[in-house]
C-alpha cells in the first residue's frame, strides 16, 4: 500500500470491546480495512482475533465501540445481515452441512437461490460460480467426501457468490496442503485486484509476509499496532505478538544424541487399512517405531496419514497385517488397549474426535484419566479430582481458563489444541502419535510443543510426528518416513536425508528407495 493519503476504509472498527465471563477478549480495538488490500490479523492464541471478527460479522454484539462500513455506522444482528452487506467469513472450523452436496451448501439460505430448483439447476449454477471465481469444486459431491482444502473452497465460494466485498478468513491455511494454499493465494489476489478486501488471520508468519499488504497485531485483546508488510520482518512480528524478544529454535541442540538405536516399541507389519469411504487408506505398510526417537512422517495430507495415526492408536482396525507392541502382536487392538500401554494420540481432527466441544473443559481434560485414581474410585467419578487435574493440565499448557465448567468450544482454537496436546503427552509413557500437532498454534506455542516432544524422546518415549512442514521435520526428527497414496515410500535417517529427495517422494516419484 502506498503511504499517500489513504482512501476511505471499507470497514472501520472503533474502540471495540468484548468481555466474556472472566475474560477480556477485546479491549478498545481500532481497525481499518482499506479497499483493495489484504490485511493480516496476528496475535498469540487467545489474543482475540476470532472474537474481533465474530463481532464484525454479527455473531457477537460488542460491549463497546462502533462498526462503520463506508463511513456509516452499522450493527449486524447476525452473519446473514453481514453477508447481505457484503462481509463474509470463513471460520476456523467449517460450518458446512456435511450431509448435503456442494451445490446445496452453496445455495443454502441465499435469497437468490431459485425456488423449487432441481438438483441439476443448482449444480449448473454452482459450476458457473466456480469458474467465475477460479475455485475448483465438484458441485455434486457430498461435503463429507471432501478434503479440507475442497471444503474451504466451498466455504469461500458460498461467500463470494453472495457478492461479498470483504472476505474474512480465519486461519485458512492451517488445514491446507502447500499446493492448496497456493491456489487459495491466487484466488485471493484476483479478488483483491478487483478492488475487494481480505482480512487474513494466520499464525504462519512467512505466509503473512507473502500475501498481506498490511498487518495488525493484537495482544491480550488489545491492538499493538498496524504496519505495512514492507516494514515488517517475521522476527519483528513475533516480537510484537508476545511483547518481548522471543527465543525460538534451539531444537537441534535439545536433542540428546543417541549412542545406539532404541528398541522397537511399536511396529506395523504389512498393515493395510481402509479409509472412511471404504477405499484403501494404508497399503502394506511396514513401520518400526523405536524408543527414544522422533520418527517423522512426511507427506502431503490425505495420503494415509490419518489412517496411519488411527491404526497406531487402535482407533481404526487394520484389514490385514499385524500391529506389534514390544515385539508382541496385538490380537485385539482397540483404543483402551493403547491407553493402557501408555500411547498418547494428538488427533488430526481435534473437533471431530479429540474433544467433545459441548462438554466442560474439565470433562475434556480428563478424557484419558477418568478411569483411574484419583478421579475414579471404583465405580465413582470425582468431579473435584477431575477439576484439579484439568487445572493442572491447563496450567502446564499455559492456557488461562475462566472457569472449568465452561464448554471447551468457548476456548480459542489454539488453546483447545494446547490442552489436547498436554493431555496426550501426560499419558505417553511408551509412545505418542502426534498428527499435525502444531495446527492452530502460535509460533511460541509451536516451539514449546516441539521442545516437549523432544523431552519425551530424550526420556525414551517413541514419538511419531506427522507433519507437512518439512522444516519442522528436519529440525526435530531422528528418522523420516515419506508417505504417498497409502504407502511408505522410504525411511531415512534424518541426518542423511536430502530435502530434495523427500520432496520428490512426497509427490510420488521414486527412483530408488532405501531403508534405514
Amino acid at each position: 500500500m502506498p503511504a499517500s493519503p489513504s482512501p476511505r476504509p471499507i470497514v472501520a472498527l472503533r474502540g471495540i470491546g468484548k468481555v466474556f465471563p472472566g475474560v477480556i477478549a477485546n479491549a478498545d480495538v481500532d481497525f481499518d480495512l482499506l479497499p483493495g488490500e489484504i490485511h493480516a490479523l496476528l496475535g498469540e492464541n487467545g489474543a482475540g482475533k476470532s472474537t474481533l471478527m465474530n463481532v464484525l460479522t454479527g455473531i457477537y454484539r460488542p460491549d463497546s465501540g462502533a462498526i462503520l462500513m463506508d463511513g456509516k455506522e452499522v450493527a449486524f444482528a447476525s452473519p446473514v445481515e453481514a453477508i447481505a452487506a457484503g462481509i463474509g467469513m470463513v471460520h476456523q472450523h467449517f460450518k458446512l452441512v456435511r450431509a448435503f452436496t456442494v451445490a446445496e451448501n452453496v445455495h443454502l439460505g441465499w435469497k437468490e437461490t431459485p425456488r423449487l430448483a432441481s438438483k441439476s439447476v443448482l449444480e449448473a449454477r454452482t459450476r458457473a460460480l466456480s469458474e467465475r471465481y477460479g475455485l475448483a469444486v465438484r458441485p455434486e459431491a457430498r461435503i463429507d467426501e471432501l478434503s479440507a482444502g475442497e471444503q474451504q473452497r466451498v466455504e469461500i465460494l458460498r461467500v463470494l457468490a453472495r457478492q461479498a466485498r470483504v472476505l474474512i478468513l480465519d486461519e485458512p491455511t492451517a488445514v491446507l496442503t502447500p499446493a492448496e494454499a497456493r491456489v487459495l493465494f491466487k484466488a485471493l489476489r484476483a479478488f483483491k485486484d478487483a478492488g475487494n478486501s481480505v482480512i487474513f488471520i494466520s499464525h504462519k508468519l512467512d505466509e503473512v509476509m507473502e500475501i498481506a499488504d498490511r498487518v495488525t497485531v493484537l495482544r491480550g485483546g488489545r491492538k499493538v499496532l498496524t504496519e505495512t508488510t514492507e516494514n515488517c520482518t517475521t522476527t519483528k512480528l513475533a516480537q510484537w505478538m508476545v511483547g518481548r524478544e522471543m527465543v525460538l529454535g534451539g531444537l537441534r541442540e535439545a536433542i540428546v544424541p543417541r549412542s545406539e538405536a532404541g528398541r522397537i516399541v511399536l511396529a506395523l507389519d504389512h498393515v493395510s487399512a481402509s479409509d472412511d469411504r471404504g477405499r484403501k487408506g494404508l497399503i502394506e505398510v511396514d513401520l518400526p517405531v523405536r524408543a527414544g526417537e522422533i520418527l517423522g512422517i512426511a507427506g502431503v495430507a490425505g495420503n494415509g496419514q490419518r489412517e496411519l495415526s488411527e491404526v497406531l492408536t487402535g482407533i481404526r482396525r487394520p484389514d490385514s497385517g499385524r500391529i506389534l507392541v514390544e515385539g508382541v502382536p496385538l490380537d485385539d487392538p482397540s483404543p483402551d488397549v493403547f491407553l493402557e500401554l501408555g500411547v498418547g494420540h494428538i488427533p488430526e481432527d481435534r473437533i471431530k474426535s479429540g474433544i467433545a466441544p459441548s462438554l466442560p473443559i474439565s470433562d475434556n481434560a480428563v478424557m484419558r484419566a477418568y478411569g483411574e485414581a484419583p478421579i475414579a474410585h471404583g465405580i465413582f467419578f470425582s468431579p473435584k479430582a477431575a477439576d484439579a487435574l484439568a487445572k493442572q493440565i491447563a496450567d502446564d499448557a499455559a492456557v488461562t481458563i475462566p472457569s472449568l465448567r465452561t464448554p471447551i468450544r468457548n476456548l480459542s482454537g489454539g488453546n483447545q489444541q494446547r490442552l489436547v496436546a498436554r493431555r496426550e503427552m501426560r499419558i505417553a509413557r511408551l509412545a505418542i502419535v502426534a498428527a499435525y500437532p502444531s495446527r492452530g498454534l502460535d509460533v511460541g506455542a509451536i516451539s514449546t510443543l516441539l521442545h516437549y516432544l523432544i523431552d519425551l524422546r530424550n526420556q525414551g518415549v517413541a514419538v511419531v510426528l506427522i507433519s507437512e512442514e518439512l522444516s519442522e521435520l528436519f529440525d526435530v526428527t531422528d528418522r523420516i518416513a515419506v508417505m504417498f497414496k497409502g504407502r511408505v515410500m522410504g525411511l531415512y535417517e534424518t541426518k542423511d536425508a536430502d530435502l530434495e529427495r523427500v520432496g520428490l517422494l512426497m509427490g510420488g516419484q521414486t527412483q530408488q528407495t532405501e531403508a534405514a
Binding site: A77, L359, F380
Partner: protein, 350 residues
Amino acid sequence: MALHFVRSPVVSSARALTARVIGFVLALGLGALVLGIAGFDSLHLGRQIIVKSLGSQFGLEDLGLLYTPLLLTGLAVTVMARMGLWNIGADGQFYLGAFVTTAIGLFIKGPEPFMLVLMFFAGAAGGALWILVPTLAKAYAKVDEIITTLLLNFVALLLVYYVATGPWRDRVSGTTASTGRVPYKMPDFFGSLHWGFVIALAAPILFALALRYTKWGYEVRLSGANPDAAHYAGIPVRRRLITIMLLSGAIAGIAGMLEVAGTVHRLQGGISNNYGYLGVMVAVLARGSALGVIAGAFLMALILNAGIILQTQGLTTSAVLALTGLIMLFTAIADQFAHYRLVRPRAATA
C-alpha cells in the same frame, strides 16, 4: 436506526425461566380471552382449577397421581436424549410394564411385599424387553430408533386391548374393557397417593447423580456429546448405547408397573393415558436435564389436571386439548424468544 432484535447463542437460566413464565401467562391469558368470548366465566374457571388442584387434599392427591407416571416417562425420554436418541416408544414400554405386572399379579400368589418387589423388577424388565429390538437394530444396524420405537407402541396397545377384553377379562364384575383386580397394591402415604410417587421423584435425582458422580455417567455424557471422541477415549460406545436404551425402556416399564400396582389396580386398554407421548413433551420442556424433568413433569401434570377439572365444568375435551397445545406452543416460542434481546444501536463515536 430503529430498534432491532439481536440473537445471542447462550441464554442464562434466569432469562430462560422468565421467558417461560411470561409465555405461560400469555397462553393462559389468550385461553381465558377465547373462553370469555365463547361465553365462559374465565375467572371462575381459573379459580376452580387452582382451588381444586392445589387447594385441597383430594386435588393434590390427583395431581400427584398424574405427576408420578409423567416423571418416569419424561425421565425415560430424557435418558435416551442424553445419547442423542429419541424414545418415542415410552407409551409401548409403559404398556408392557403394566402388562407384565398384571400377569404376575393375577396369576402368581405370594406375600405382598415380595410380590411388589417382583412386580417392580418384572415391570422394568417388560419395558426393557419392549425396546430390545429397536436397541439391537440401532446398535448393530444403525436403524433409526424413532420409527422402531414408535411402531412398537401400536403392537403393545393391541396386545393390552386383546388380553384386557379377551382372555384376562374381568369375570367378576362383568366389565368388558379391563382385567380383574390385581390383589397387590403399593402402600399409600398421603390419601390415595402411593409410594410410587416417591420412587418416581427419586429417579431423576438418582440419574442426575449417576451422570455426574459415576464413571459410567461420565462415559455416557462423553458418548452422547461426541461418539467419536468417546471411542478415541477407549469407551465402548455401543455397549453404553445399549445400556442407555434398555434403561430408558425399563424406566417407562416401571411407570406402567406403578400405574397398575399403585393407581389403577387393573389392566385396561387406555391405561397409558398417553403418558409415553407426554413424556416426550416433558423431556422437551426439561431440555435434556434430568432435574429439569421434575419441573417439566409438574407443569405437565398441572395442565392435565386442569384439563380434567375444565371438563367437569362443561368444556369439551377438544377445547381442553386446544388449551394444552396453546400452552406448549407458547412455551416453545418463549424458549426461542429467550435468545433475543432488543437493542438500540449506539450513536457513532467516529
